[in-house]
Assembly symmetry: C2
Homo-oligomer: 269 residues x 2
Amino acid sequence: MAADPMYRRIAEDLRSKIEAGELARGAQLPTEIELRDQYDASRNTIRDAIKWLATNGLVETRPGQGTFVVVRLDPFITTLSADPETGLGGGEGDAAFAEVRDRGRSPSASEARVEVQAARGNVALRLRVPEGTQVISRRQERFIDGTPWSLQTSFYPMTLVASGAHRLLDATNIPGGSVAYLRHALDIVQVGYRDSVVVRTPDHDESTFFKLPDDGRIPVISLMRTGYQASDAGPTPFRVMITVLPADRNQLVINSGDVPGTPAAAVRP
Amino acid sequence: MAADPMYRRIAEDLRSKIEAGELARGAQLPTEIELRDQYDASRNTIRDAIKWLATNGLVETRPGQGTFVVVRLDPFITTLSADPETGLGGGEGDAAFAEVRDRGRSPSASEARVEVQAARGNVALRLRVPEGTQVISRRQERFIDGTPWSLQTSFYPMTLVASGAHRLLDATNIPGGSVAYLRHALDIVQVGYRDSVVVRTPDHDESTFFKLPDDGRIPVISLMRTGYQASDAGPTPFRVMITVLPADRNQLVINSGDVPGTPAAAVRP
DNA sequence: GCAAATTTGTTCGTATGTATT
DNA sequence: CAATACATACGAACAAATTTG
């Protein structure tokens, strides 16, 4: 008779009540004991139903408080394509901040945390240096209206510092952005960039910073940007930037050719 | 005493064995009974540990068979930016197929499933038509080397058919793509497009087609492309295309300015 | 093709721990 | 401190899916 197990039927029932608005955003569900009586099941079965709703991102449980319908965060939009007027790459330092302010929201960022590291894996591959080569890593935490928004880490070969770009080692933000700084200091011009977008589960650091549940329910969007300068051998990489964005509060937009001047609307899920 | 609960410690132990290669990709874990004896815990606690590994994408359980270390699918890369030579939008019909073949893999697609629907939500908003306006929906299922790769649905206002684009109603694939067809048939030229990228949990249809676990562990990347034609009032939308890609086997690439001619390498997780 | 064995899935009951109010 | 609510852990039984003999 019962095609689906009981916990799934209970979960579906609760889901429909949430989607019908019967249980509002942020509202508290009945307690496990109350649900046990309502559905005439054991508390463990109710917990299975709630667990299913939780892994599907519909509710969240808070020990000692109860189970609540999740409130969807107001999504923020990052435009990846370069601004045709400024030529600035989307999602980077000042360009990203300007986009946030354009939408009437308030961005902020931590000071840069600077480290010298050995290049590994994706970074070494994209900077075209051997594994273990010394690189500068500059990491910044960003917020919108106070909520954690992105983790951005940029990597530069140490050779740039030897050539005179000493400010890359400053643990302060570089006004105007490092791309502009490298243009002025070393005449390195970013002629193009390539973004690779991957969706994955957050690591422990990321879960902590973004306050994501540590069970990997909410994925992050990892955006790796390789910046190129011109050379006789064609475009040559000089920087790699990795931006990590929680998927529950971020959308990406890419423009190509002629598009309306009005900003892109958020996609409603 | 125990900082972490037992099920987490067991999960972490198994995780380290997986990451150390002690448990190979695709290998079967010991059965729940064996693990119960190994860790001296109850079967339910073992199951909690396995469930944690499963929601974190490290293992998958198959009823009647056992629990297995997941094998990561060879990721496929879709380039969203327009090809500077052909001007063709990335990820669309022929362009997408060419990219797959370039990488030595074999694409295939179902015939288009055509329906006439009432425009709703995002589609109505982006086509700039009132909710309920009749639109044509053309849906296609795509595969790479036999595994489900993407679900693509395009929406066109019915007025295009009235103007003479009758083939939009044919339940067959339009050779060269519908953008080229509309250019020839109605002189509608796509002067630009805007992509919106959202990550979300799959719906039931998508879970079925992509053979994803129905608990929402693996998200999908939803790519909504609005195509614009020129008009006196600026770029005007004439089509919306929604491509849904499972996040566990897809990466996106966006090029801007001068980048190397060599294809982008996959990001290693 | 069928039956048995194996393995995971569901559901109950119970007890105790931990976080919050 | 007490009450409330969720978290962890144990044990047990039967169901369902799959493989094997």
